[in-house]
Amino acid sequence: MDAVIRRRLLMLGPLGIAAAGSGVFWALLLRMQQGKYDPHALQSMLVGKPLPDFTLPGQAPSAGFSNTDVNRGKLPALVNFFASWCIPCVEEASALDGLARQGVTIWGIAYKDKAAATAGFLTRYGDPYHQVARDADGRTAINFGLYGVPETYVVDRTGIVRLRYAGGLSSDSVNDTILPLLRKLA
């Protein structure tokens, strides 16, 4: 090969590397949009295991519940941690509402929240929950390995946790992740 062409090809190298890099980023961004890739996805220790033992007092007027109540109720079901002071919880309220209207059982656990504040939250943004319990000191959350609120767990028909979803649910993540999984587990 003649030297000039070789030199020209060499000079194309950096562009090639940059093109390859942007191709990868492009593919990852596309997957993020489709919900197939989440860099922040956290593998939960709970996935594949039963819910941890807990018995929590209720948020009036709802009665409290325990892990056995969840396992005896209608399955598959969702367990959702939320709090009135958390903004993503407000944002996911409509997505949860949609799920509840499709007949999905959602057990709500108010995390480190005052009863009055939780009540205000439920009247303002709707109450999609089958029952709401209070985890005032956050001890149950520790047993769940909670990363932050909101967080949603999918429990299958045998009481095994199949998915932990950290962060607020949106209509996209409900349609792409939660509903297909629930249909598979039903």
């Binding site: 000039v4 030199r7 020209r8 000079m11 194309l12 950096p14 562009l15 940059a18 093109a19 890099g21 942007s22 990868v24 980023f25 492009w26 593919a27 990852l28 961004l29 993020m32 949009q33 890739y37 860099p39 922040h40 593998q43 709090a83 002071w85 903004i87 480190k112």
Partner: protein, 652 residues
């Protein structure tokens, strides 16, 4: 009303940047002096508009205007004024506006200080900066506008992330961004040179001070980030090879290479193509560092959550900027002929070696950072941890450190290695003694090697000065007057190299650090690391918008009190987030570092560290930046000085 003014000023800046992107370059191509002269005016106009816009954002935050979405989400009236101001760049939208502001400041600086530049070169440089500016300003205006309104406004804002409520981190983004964005100037010069098809000594003379300034800021920015991680995260380490940390290290490595390469272009008119490529690569890596982090692709504690559509916009911008400049490089670089020739053993040769090693380091770190992303594409979840980096980085550092002291004593063009090494024998002998002494005393090979390298770097850094003043070969008085006559640039280089040695000493010292986790009851004493640590009491202290759970701890050594420290856990009311406030008692030679953990069964969990020479890690970075600043004020390199020469040598 004020946010609308800010919004308008932002839109105005987009328009001015768009004009700046087109007119000067068209003018330079068609040799129309009026169009070329529009460049500086537009750059200053854009800067003014963005200053106004950012002022409006700060104003909205200071007066607690919660109808502005970003203020409501990131500020609250209970915060101190300082954090209401710094909170404007503590979130995604504001930080990008700040980024654009710094870019505009760079453009303004070229417009104002570049009067002596050949007018066509200045027009092209400003035009390229306008292109970059226009793209990112358009992104700010359309996809991440910090002036968005929210209705109805909340009564109280959601407050800044408590981790960011810290003076060190509050000033971190402006400094880091100045470093990142400062590299846009060498980048613009490189692209302008490709457009002109000419790189000469004048060009190198102009590029070097800008590169140096950006490099100083980036050095400080990285050090500040590492220092913050050390005292705020409470893990006791100073570098975690986190993707965001790596992202800031990559442009630093290529920027350091660029800095040294520009010397060769300036002095010897060689390595031109390579310098241009480095200038492009450094700014490209800076862009990736800022925006890949922002796009949320990388998983890190530092990243903001962003929706992927913004990510696509950013990717397109990056593709245009980076891809465009590299395509131009592929097309035009072959015409940049080198005129200077040099032998492999010479100052130039040493600088080439420095470049090869720095770029290899960059490639290694880049691979470790990007590999998990590539793996994710094939559905493999993995993370690359410190073991990989230690294994790959250290073998490259050894030759780099060796060459760092040898390079400066070599002559330009052609040199002999043997006499050069002879001039360094004393530095080598002392370094070897220190290394052997440490190994015999402590039996810690890594620390011994580290201290030896540090001594070699610090002593070797001043070997060139010793040589220049002919120490002990002429009377001391004559040496002294020679020393005073040395240009600041020589001092700057020596100090910067010595700074690296100081950092290496710090890292070696940290490898000797001790740490333990203990559970103690109030009144109990623990002996650890040669100190007696007594937990005196626990109590709660209310803060501005948090409650602190404080431990009082007395540290004694040999019956004498060393310090009473108060590590605490701060719980912030609004977010229910807990932040550790570590206590660090330092005497520069060792840090006593105490982080408070939770409580169990009436006992308090404490993490105790005795960190040897920890302060040296950041002190070294400051020394490096100081060295850079010193050579920046060197008369010979001052921005105005080359202008007179440039005007004669290069007709526009």
């Amino acid at each position: 009303m004020i946010p609308e003014l800010g919004h308008f000023a932002l839109a105005l800046a987009v328009a001015l940047a768009a004009a700046q992107a087109v007119l000067p370059i068209v003018g330079a191509q068609s040799r129309d002096p009026r169009l070329m002269a529009a460049g500086p005016a537009l750059a200053v106009g854009q800067l003014t508009a963005l200053l106004a816009a950012y002022g409006c954002l700060i104003w909205s935050s200071v007066v607690n205007d919660f109808s502005v979405y970003d203020v409501a989400m990131n500020s609250s009236s209970t915060e101190p004024l300082f954090y209401r101001i710094t909170g404007t760049w503590g979130n995604h939208d504001g930080s990008i506006l700040l980024w654009c502001l710094v870019l505009a400041i760079c453009g303004g600086a070229v417009a104002l200080f570049g009067r002596g530049l050949p007018s066509a070169l200045r027009a092209r440089v400003l035009g390229v900066m306008g292109i970059v500016s226009a793209g990112f300003l358009l992104f700010t205006l359309t996809a991440s506008n910090p002036f968005r309104r929210m209705w109805p406004p909340p009564i109280q804002g959601a407050a800044i992330n408590p981790l960011l409520q810290d003076p060190g981190l509050a000033i971190h983004p402006p400094i880091l961004y100045t470093g990142y964005v400062g590299f846009s100037i060498p980048f613009a010069f490189a692209v302008a040179a490709l457009l002109e098809g000419r790189v000469d000594a004048t060009w190198g003379r102009w590029v070097r001070p800008w590169t140096l300034a950006a490099w100083c800021f980036l050095t400080c920015g990285i050090a500040l980030g590492s220092w913050w991680a050390y005292y705020e995260l409470g893990w006791g380490g100073f570098w975690f090879w986190d993707p965001v940390e790596n992202a800031s290290l990559l442009p630093w490595l290529t920027g350091t290479a660029l800095l040294h390469c520009a010397i060769v272009v300036e002095k010897r008119e060689a390595l031109k193509t390579w310098t241009v490529l480095l200038a492009i690569a450094t700014f490209s890596l800076s862009l990736c560092g800022t925006f890949m982090v922002r796009s949320g692709i990388l998983n890190s504690v530092h990243s903001f959550a962003v929706d992927p559509t913004q990510g696509v916009f950013i990717l397109v911008l990056l593709a245009i900027t980076i891809g465009g400049s590299l395509a131009l490089f592929a097309f035009r670089a072959p015409v940049l002929a080198a005129s200077g020739v040099f032998a492999p053993i010479s100052r130039e040769g040493a600088l080439v070696l420095n470049n090869v090693l720095l770029c290899s380091l960059c490639a290694v770190v880049f691979t470790g950072t990007a590999y998990p992303l590539f793996a994710a594409l094939f559905h493999v979840q993995l993370s690359v941890g410190p073991p990989y980096f230690h294994l790959t980085v250290v073998p490259l550092l050894v030759p780099l450190f060796l060459a760092m002291s040898v390079g400066p004593v070599l002559a330009w063009k052609r040199a002999d290695l043997a006499p050069a090494l002879l001039r360094l024998w004393w530095a080598g002998a002392i370094a070897a003694l220190i290394g052997i002494g440490t190994e015999f005393g402590l039996h810690r090979a890594f620390a011994a090697a580290g201290f030896a390298a540090a001594a070699w770097l610090i002593l070797g850094a001043f070997a060139e000065l010793v040589e220049r003043v002919r120490l002990f070969r002429i009377p001391l008085g004559n040496s002294w007057s020679r020393l005073r006559a040395q240009p600041l640039g020589v001092w700057g280089g020596a100090i910067a190299h010595a700074g690296m040695g100081v950092t290496v000493a710090g890292i070696a010292g940290m490898s000797l650090a001790l740490s333990t986790i203990v559970a103690v009851a109030p009144g109990q004493t623990i002996a650890f690391g040669g100190y007696q640590w007594t937990l005196l009491a626990m109590h709660d202290v209310p803060g501005s918008d948090y409650t602190a759970h404080v431990a009082d701890l007395r540290i004694m050594r040999d019956g004498r009190q060393v310090a009473v420290v108060h590590p605490s856990l701060r719980t912030f009311g609004q977010q229910h987030q807990t932040v550790t406030d570590t206590s660090i008692q330092t005497n520069l030679l060792r840090d006593l570092y105490i982080a408070l953990g939770g409580e169990q069964d009436g006992k308090v969990v404490l993490r105790l560290h005795v960190n040897t020479l920890a302060a040296f890690v950041w002190l070294g970075a400051l020394v490096m930046a100081f060295g850079g600043a010193l050579s920046l004020v060197d008369r010979r390199l001052r921005v105005g000085a080359p202008a007179r020469r440039g005007a004669v040598g290069v007709p526009a």
